[in-house]
């Protein structure tokens, strides 16, 4: 009848590039292998069983899943072997996903809150649609559509463009992504050097030497399962085992699994990268072709006077002896790492998707530039085993928006979050929305999609205050999270098991689409937010109704994904479609200039030169005077300000009083999405590394703890200039003595019974500031003191 999917069959799928009858047949076999009905009497299983391919939505990796549905119930998930990110694997979050679907604390119907009494009343969807349509029409009639704001989380695929388009049609430029909390620093580092505003993809499978600057490849980086797959292959999937070096104040799982752990002083990654660059240049190990012919600013150059290039700047300022003082990494180690990196090609230096780069100053972006410059020095840009540039599946363009005077006036207003104005280099300043509202910016309607800013931003209680000034707040959360608790309308979206959606596959360089589809009928009276906005558009009438004429969000997806090369039925069956095989662009070729280097530059020339000297940054800071630069926390003048360099982190809290740097870490188990904290299996395994469960803890070097008279498991008070929290201390030997760690995603005051009232939220005592040039949040520049509670 059928046979299970063997490794050979799987390879065959890759070989025929999927989509042929063979591939479909193999997948059918793979999914029906578990569907045994004709069996001996001792085996009872369900009669009605199916396997549906979909996508997991519990972290930013977006792994493909095969969902086993038995008698209409979701009972098990497996990784989809055809999905290139997870290749059949699935992490604990994905495995526990049925606890999301069948969570006892899910919201079951739309509700309206009376602000005065806090009373919640269930309403009909029609009323919700009316209320939102009315509000938006009122704003448009008043000539201020920009006062409608949408904040969203890690929303990928067509939903992001759909929501953005809806807001544009209404007339608001205010669609604010949460990227300023995580990936924007790395994207900016990439933008200011390579000229592409995107996270780099890394060809780990072909790398010989991987140098991770706090990128947390194995737990909770920007795309954890993708980097785990690459790591696993690099280690033991091929003939030669690649070397992995982790630079991070905390060892964690990735440092423990690496060949070498470099416990660096927090916030000094730029100095280490440039110290290595110094050795690489002095040793003559640079890729001469690349730096001479495809980089801008390696040598000194003349442009309105003699300008200093990367080479001389680094040779003058980053001698390993000096870098040792800055970073705490021995100069001999720096020299050795540099030699290993430059002579074991392909070598790649990896940027974190979050964490260390968000240190409250522009120094974090310089660090990203410095780390990425290492890749340029050894010629690892757009080359096998190096950095790839993420390509996306071409989607059918939305039809042009009809001319609409109200909308075009609204779209010309400054962004509410200050991106592009107050934060000239920023594209989104999520956490700054609260400050802007508190400073008097007018927001009449606020939509929260996939967003829980009250919990997930440093000093999130500012959002609670800001929300009091916004008359109309709509939450689309599936759970009553901290932000939904303050909303006027709570319009629950079904979980990813019950709705349509998609993701662009990221991390492999080549384009791909991963589909979410309803694997069962929705359990409750919920609505896909895409469908909701379509109905709102219809109710609003006029140009907006015309612009959004689709009957359902599924139709929107069908429209957008028409030309990807797979028909809708095939995509539904496979759950994933891609154009596999990354094709490296030749240096200097048309594709190089058009897609790889310089394509996104707004001011500097799109000439295919990798900027070791950032011309784009020069457009922003080149003409600034010393005091203006100082206000941005940039100590270098002139050429130095345009070159990647080390800036000392301006820590909040005096070192004498607050001796430890607080690092809020993300766990593989709980991840960064609030609803994961309400999944009991994830709570249970959350503290594996220190044998904790259902709780928070403070990780501390045993020596440091003993000096304070603290035993393992003692209750402690952790205080920063912004507040204090109580938790227990756990000894962690693989941690710098001047750093303490608090895991994220505990300390909820809402969401549900499993999450609520458990542990503490470290973000409450973090510096709530935004970096002045980019609007990045500050996650790693807060100092704390620790004492017995």
């Amino acid at each position: 009848m059928t046979k299970p999917l063997s490794r050979r069959d799987f390879l065959k799928i890759g070989g025929v590039a999927a989509g042929t009858a063979t591939a479909l047949g193999v997948l059918k076999n793979a999914v029906s292998a578990q569907t045994v009905t004709n069996v001996a009497a001792s085996i009872q299983t369900t009669s009605d069983e199916k396997i549906v391919a979909s996508t997991c939505h519990l972290c930013s990796a977006g792994c493909g899943v095969l969902v086993r549905v038995a008698d209409g119930k979701v009972v098990k998930l497996e990784g989809n072997p055809m999905h290139p990110v997870n290749q059949g694997s699935l992490c604990p979050k994905g495995q526990a996903a049925p606890e999301l679907l069948y969570n006892p604390d899910r919201l079951t119907s739309p509700m309206k809150r009376d602000r005065a009494s806090g009373q919640l009343t269930p309403i009909q969807w029609d009323e919700a649609i009316q209320l939102v349509a009315q509000k938006l029409n009122d704003l448009r009639e008043a000539g201020h559509p920009e006062q409608a704001v949408l904040m969203h989380g890690d929303t990928r695929g067509q939903m992001r463009s759909f929501l953005t388009r809806f807001m544009q049609a209404v007339g608001s430029p205010n669609v604010v992504s949460h990227e300023s909390l995580n990936v924007a620093a790395a994207k900016l580092g990439m933008y200011l050097t390579q000229g592409v505003y995107a996270l780099p993809a890394y060809d780990l499978e072909n790398a010989n030497y991987v140098l991770s600057f706090g990128a947390n490849l194995l737990e909770a980086g920007s795309n954890p399962q993708r980097t785990i797959s690459g790591f696993s292959y690099l280690r033991r999937g091929r003939a030669t085992r690649g070397k992995v070096v982790v630079v991070d104040p905390r060892q964690g799982v990735h440092g423990a699994k690496a060949d070498e752990w470099i416990p660096i002083k927090p916030g000094t990654d730029a100095a280490l990268a440039l110290g290595m660059a110094n050795v690489i240049i002095r040793s003559g190990l640079v890729d001469a072709d690349f730096v001479k012919n495809y980089c801008f600013g390696f040598d000194n150059f003349a442009s309105g006077g003699e300008r200093k290039g990367f080479r001389d700047f680094v040779l003058e300022n980053y001698d390993p002896i000096r870098v040792e003082q800055m970073t705490g990494v021995p100069s001999t180690t720096i020299a050795r790492l540099a030699g290993e990196f430059a002579s074991n090609k392909p070598a790649v230096a990896i940027l974190p998707g979050k964490g260390g780069l968000l240190n409250g100053g522009f120094g974090g972006v310089y660090a990203a530039m410095a780390v990425h410059a290492l890749n340029a020095l050894v010629g690892s840009i757009e080359s096998e085993g190096g950095v790839m540039t993420q390509r996306y599946m071409p989607c059918v363009d939305f039809p042009k928006l009809p001319s609409d005077s109200v909308a075009s006036k609204g779209l010309k207003t400054e962004r509410l979050d200050g991106a592009g104005t107050k934060f000239p280099l920023g594209r989104n300043a999520y956490q700054a929305v609260a400050d802007q509202i508190l400073e008097g910016a007018a927001v009449e309607a606020l939509f929260l999609y996939d967003a829980n800013p009250v919990f997930e931003t440093p000093g999130g209680n500012r959002f609670a205050e800001a929300f009091a000034k916004v008359p109309f707040i709509v939450s689309f959360s599936s759970f009553m999270d901290e932000s939904a608790e303050l909303a006027d309308l709570i319009l629950p979206e079904p979980t990813f098991f019950e709705r349509w959606g998609d993701n662009h596959i990221e991390g492999l360089g080549y384009p791909g689409i991963s589909l979410f589809q309803p694997v069962i009928e929705p359990l409750y009276d919920t609505m896909n937010t895409g469908d909701f906005f379509l109905k709102v558009a219809e109710t609003m009438g006029g140009t907006i109704a015309k612009t959004f004429a689709w009957k359902s969000y599924e139709e929107v997806l069908q429209f957008r994904l028409k030309d990807i090369g797979a028909d809708w039925d095939t995509l539904k069956e496979l759950g994933v479609w891609m154009i596999p095989g990354y094709r490296f662009a030749k240096r200097g070729s048309e594709r190089w200039i058009g897609e790889v280097v310089g394509a996104d530059r707004l001011n500097a020339p799109r000439d295919g030169y990798f900027d070791l000297y950032s011309r784009e940054l020069n457009c922003f800071v080149g003409k600034m005077k010393k005091d203006e630069l100082a206000a941005l926390g940039i100590s270098m003048m002139g050429d130095g300000a345009n070159l990647p360099h080390y800036e000392e982190t301006a820590f909040a809290g005096d070192e004498a009083k607050y001796p430890f740097v607080l690092n809020v870490i993300t766990l593989m188990s709980l991840g960064s999405r609030s609803e994961a904290a309400n999944m009991p299996s994830l709570q249970e395994i959350s503290g594996m590394t220190v044998r904790e469960t259902w709780d928070s803890w403070l990780e501390m070097n045993p020596e440091s703890a003993r000096r304070l008279g603290l035993e393992d498991q003692d209750r402690v008070k952790v205080e920063s200039p912004f507040g204090g929290i109580n938790t227990k201390v756990r000894y962690v030997a693989g941690l710098r003595p001047d750093v303490v760690n608090l895991p994220f995603n505990q300390g909820h005051t809402a969401v549900g019974r499993f999450a609520k009232g458990r542990g503490v939220n470290g973000l409450e005592i973090l510096n709530p500031a935004s970096e002045p040039l980019t609007g990045l949040a500050a996650f790693t520049n807060t100092r704390v003191k620790v004492s017995r509670a």
């Binding site: 009848m1 046979k3 299970p4 063997s6 045994v36 069996v39 001996a40 085996i43 009872q44 299983t45 119930k73 979701v74 009972v75 098990k76 990784g79 694997s89 699935l90 992490c91 604990p92 495995q95 526990a96 049925p98 606890e99 069948y102 006892p104 194995l218 737990e219 785990i228 797959s229 696993s232 280690r235 033991r236 060892q251 799982v253 990735h254 423990a256 699994k257 060949d259 752990w261 416990p263 593989m668 188990s669 299996s681 709570q683 249970e684 395994i685 594996m688 590394t689 044998r691 469960t693 259902w694 070097n701 045993p702 035993e711 393992d712 756990r730 000894y731 030997a733 693989g734 003595p737």
Partner: protein, 242 residues
């Protein structure tokens, strides 16, 4: 007759605990109450833990320290101590080398939980419970051998349970081969933890077949077994890091 074995490559394992949770959803192990979990009574047949387990134990001078993480299913010993201490013969090794638990016979004395040097045996201190509607996700399969439950239907209060190498998957694969009138092949089945492994660190197969992946890996210089000198002869085999 195959002799089932698992190989775990610690060089690829990233301690994500996907195996722990895949096992839970495949085998219907309950989430215990938080206070019970804190007592160490969480029911994860395949647990992952750090070494040293006690963080106050010194393992070197900072920065020359390295944490280790060990995923640990049942070792399915060839000479299992748990069987010897069972007063009622409730635990036994079957013809394919899987150490099984007969829940109907188990009297809950917990000798085996002490007798097992690997701590892989779990006692049901409470009636397994799921807050409504969480029980909807339970695996509906129920496999019985000679009228006795083998898995993965929920076990009752007061019995010991343990990793079965997902015996219901094995039985289903056997049944399928039979229904199709052909011989069963050893690569037709893997346990849930092997299938989900994010680092592709787990291998599963027949140790009797010298050409199987597990047999080949078992010969590697990196291979070792937990508490080898205890004479238990585990069929779960590890490969050292590095």
């Amino acid at each position: 007759m195959p002799k089932w074995s698992m190989v775990i490559d610690l060089d690829k394992c990233v301690a994500c605990q996907g195996c722990s949770i895949a096992c839970r959803f495949e085998n219907n192990t309950p989430v215990v109450a938080p206070d019970q979990a804190k007592l160490g009574r969480a029911m994860r047949w395949n647990d992952v833990f750090p070494l040293p387990v006690n963080p106050t134990e010194e393992t070197g001078e900072y920065p020359h320290v390295k944490a280790q993480y060990v995923p640990r299913p049942c070792m399915h010993c060839e000479n299992p101590p748990c069987i010897k201490v069972c007063p009622v013969g409730a635990t036994f090794i079957d013809e394919e080398g899987i150490v099984e638990q007969n829940y109907a016979r188990c009297i809950g004395c917990r000798f085996c939980t002490v007798g097992c040097p690997y701590g892989v045996r779990y006692f049901n201190w409470y009636e397994p419970q799921w807050e409504t509607p969480l029980a909807e996700h339970l695996n509906p399969d129920r496999v019985e051998g000679q009228g006795v439950l083998e898995g993965p239907a929920v076990r009752p209060l007061g019995v010991v349970e343990k990793c079965t190498f997902c015996i219901h998957r094995l039985k289903k694969a056997h049944a399928q081969a039979e229904a199709e009138g052909r011989d069963f092949r050893a690569d037709e089945y893997v346990p849930a933890c092997v299938q989900t492994c994010t680092g592709k660190a787990r291998f599963f197969g027949d140790l009797e077949d010298p050409d199987s992946t597990v047999s080949q890996l078992a010969l590697k210089p990196r291979s070792f077994r937990l508490l080898e000198d205890g004479g238990t002869h585990p069929k779960t085999i590890y490969l050292r890091e590095g």
